[in-house]
């Protein structure tokens, strides 16, 4: 860990966004993670995305579980709300928060241990309920915080730092998210910000359950030969299906593209995802096609990245549950506690 605070000074040309903030204003205190941890790069990507989207920091709630990955919310968006839950319980605490105040932007940050081991059930239910959130898993294939035991996402046959072989089948969170109804599913790599930042932007604009699995090497325990989550392995096996440019609103296409190589997805809020296809046959609007593609290509040892699936017209938990359209904290005491006459009425309807 680093002992000095990151200097306040910044580049003389550092830009400000619509709110007058610089990118540096979206930082938090200096990270205590291991030097070179992929998680720090993901934090930097989140900072960049929040700056680019002119997000007001007080409109964001960051929730996480336990793990090195779950520590990261301390190191970004220092002016936002934060909640560290018990191990694996981020999804349920976030779901509750979201039900109470639907106006905030929810960012759930978790690890592969936090979400695929102890919190697997929690993960599944947040996805299937369509909680409006960005769910980021910083996936390193190990329990980094507890010194590098295999996690449930470790690939079968991959080798630990000490040489042990993992014999268990891996949990693929992307496939699960697709199957469980998440309306935005992507995979990326901490070492590729050009891909990751626009994905986070698009996910933040998405009004439903958005899941991003970010492969994020653990330099301390899982960055050796024989690991399938190391910088070298991911770089060698990375197969991006597309590159996305995120635009808050539609802009004229000014660059020349090969016919059929660009696809635009207009999200419900008017934002546009311009996808530059790298695999012509890949269609990110086809959930079943995505699942098949993933299975096929993962079987070949490819690490498939990019925007894998998006539903431009998602629905979320609030829509399914027909909740009030405003945060509970804006309601008066009478509306929140509608007295015994209202209770009588409800009880009567149930008789």
């Amino acid at each position: 860990m680093t002992y000095i605070a990151k200097p306040k000074l910044h580049h003389p040309t550092l830009a400000t966004n619509k709110l007058g903030f610089t990118r540096r204003d979206y930082e938090g205190p200096v990270s205590t993670l291991c030097a070179g941890c992929g998680h720090d790069s993901i934090s930097a990507a989140i900072i960049q995305a929040a700056f680019n989207l002119d997000i007001e920091p007080h409109r964001v709630a960051k929730l996480s579980g336990i793990g090195c990955s779950s520590k990261t919310p301390t190191y970004f968006l220092g002016q936002s709300h934060g909640f560290n839950t018990v191990h694996g319980r981020m999804p349920s605490v976030l779901t509750g928060a979201n039900l109470a105040n639907r106006d905030l932007i929810y960012m759930g940050v978790s690890g592969d241990g936090d979400s695929a081991s102890i919190g697997l059930g929690q993960f599944a239910h947040a996805m299937r309920r369509g909680v409006n959130m960005v769910y980021i898993v910083m996936n390193n294939g190990v329990y980094g915080l507890t010194k590098g035991q295999f996690s449930a996402t470790a690939d079968k046959g991959s080798k630990s730092k000490k040489g042990a072989i993992n014999n268990d089948s891996p949990v693929d969170l992307v496939s699960l998210a697709l199957q469980l109804g998440a309306t935005f599913v992507a995979r990326s790599f901490s070492g590729d910000k050009a891909q990751l930042v626009p994905l986070i932007e698009a996910a933040l604009a998405h009004q439903g359950a958005a899941f991003i699995d970010v492969i994020s090497p653990c330099v301390a325990f899982n960055n050796h030969a024989g690991s399938t989550k190391s910088y070298d392995y991911v770089r060698e096996h990375n197969e991006a299906v597309n590159r996305i440019d995120f635009m808050p609103y539609r802009e004229e296409i000014t660059t020349e593209y090969e016919p059929g190589s660009v696809q635009e997805v207009v999200q419900h809020d008017g934002s546009v995802l311009r996808l530059r296809k790298l695999h012509a046959e890949y269609d990110p609007n086809n959930r079943i096609g995505a699942m098949n593609y993933l299975q096929e290509h993962q079987a070949k040892g490819e690490v498939v990245t990019g925007l894998l699936f998006v539903d431009p017209e998602p629905e979320d938990l609030h829509a399914y549950s027909n909740t009030v359209p405003v945060p509970l904290n804006t309601l008066g005491a009478n509306e929140l506690c509608p007295k015994s006459a209202a209770l009588e009425k409800i009880n009567a309807s149930l008789r």
């Binding site: 860990m1 680093t2 002992y3 000095i4 605070a5 990151k6 200097p7 306040k8 000074l9 910044h10 580049h11 003389p12 040309t13 550092l14 540096r24 200096v30 990270s31 291991c34 030097a35 070179g36 941890c37 992929g38 720090d40 790069s41 934090s43 930097a44 901490s190 070492g191 910000k193 090497p217 330099v219 960055n223 910088y231 070298d232 770089r235």
Partner: protein, 611 residues
Amino acid sequence: MKPTDIGRPEYFHKVVDCQLACPAHTPVPEYIRLIAAGRYSDAYMVNWHSNVFPGVLGRTCDRPCEPACRRGRVEDGESKEPVAICRLKRVAADYKDDVSARMPKPAEKKNGKRIACVGAGPASLTVARDLAPLGYEVTVFDGEKKAGGFIRSQIPKFRLPEEVIDEETGYILNLGVDFRSGVRVESLKGLLAEGYDAVFVGSGAPRGRDLDIPGRKEAAKNIHIGIDWLSSVSFGHIDKIGRRVIVLGGGNTAMDCCRSSRRLGGEDVKVIVRSGFDEMKASPWEKEDAIHEGIPILNYLVPKEFRHENGKLVGMLFEKVKAVYDDRGRRSLVPAGEPDQYFECDDVLVAVGQENSFPWIERDIGLEFDKWGMPVVSESTMQSSIPKVFFGGDAAFGPKNIIWAVAHGHEAAVSIDRFCSGEDVAVRPPPNVNLMSQKMGIHEWSYDNAVSNDIRFKVPLKDISISLKNIKVEVELGFDPQLAFKEAQRCLNCDVQTVFAAGQCIECDACVDICPMDCITFTANGEEDDLRKRLNAPALNLSQDLYVSTELKTGRVMVKDEDVCLHCGLCAERCPTGAWDMQKFLLTTTKAGPGCRDRHANHAAPSRQAA
């Protein structure tokens, strides 16, 4: 771009902006760290080796280092102020212990070579200091009684107390130098006939320019040439001036004249300058000091006439001008079309420039002069057209300043040493460089890498009511140790270099993410102009280099813009593989002695330095 060759001393030297800008290449951050550590004597010696007069320069240096200081490029908001490099030098001089034991000793054995230095200003004294300990018999001639040249005769005592000059000229004269005080050399031909192996001319630029306008002769009694008047004040021949004084000229001499006048009875003192305020030659801080003492500066007024009654000066008439610029941006002053302005006065000090003059150098002895009457001197070797005659200081290329005189002195001493050893003076010795990791532990460095957010501290001044009463009272009190520590902490340690080992890099982006200044980019290689635009933050300052690595595993290169790096070491702290390391680059110029010669002689051990 080609990968950067950090093995060339020029590369990292350029990163240490202040040291590069210092004519004598003083290792600035090195001494500033020593001051922060309270090691004042060590800080003094680092300075002494490079610039010879730390106590003098710490009060008077023209400080070309400060406009170059990186701090002035990276600070936030309106205050972009360099480190007070110059005044920190004074701290080293003020708080050091007795350093006489650390000074070189007079040579035990002479080497049989005799050197004459004309003048005892900073240039000659530097030559003497560099050569005497090597065994040269150095004779220094000066028409004045005491050594120091203009340092003693021109710079007013309220800026530079006499004791400081005595101490620092003393260190040199104690090296076994033969100082012939009060001896003016009247003939170079005669001097050469005395059989010296080499002669160094450090006779300065001693003549003040006059102003030939109507009334000059008639009112002569109350019109004084600035530098002549200042030396008369310094030597105690003049101790008062009229109540109303006009100082003509916009340079540093004018500033010393007006401030001296305020202390010798001038109550209504004003500076009147032809040019605008910003174009004045005086340093900004000298103008500030004059204004602080209640001296108005009036601009765009061209002297027209000295008015006199009954043979006595009564005032001066000026024409108002304005600046106009042609297409090429060149300025000329044209009449503003306003009525002339008249100012009453009792005395006028003319400080409109300074010239060289070599009445004692015969024109028929083979010493070449150019069409401006200046000797033809090599800028690198300081050699004249007579091989054994060398020039330096103001005598070489016209009036400059003390630190340039010192720098010339060092170069001339190297030339003389090589010349007397029968070696080609045109071949210059490379500097001594040392690059050393500062790593002490996992995230521990042997320098203080936290970056201070303090803005520049001001040097405390003596109460003006006291300092204006006595011309010998020093105006600046200097930093106390606490202030000095805080100011020293503003230094960014630009000599602690970010050194990148491409082979160790795993391209994890950790350095890119942590760098507060967005200096680092991993990208496809390209031509410099193209790369400069493609970096995480555009590299707009073309005077600062890009550090480019060899190709990395992904085919990209690491590009670092040196321009605004804080040397905070965070890139190295966050690097998991040690691909980045913070390494101290210590450059010292090679001085006269065995190290500067092709055939290293075996006498004289190299001088010891604080690390």
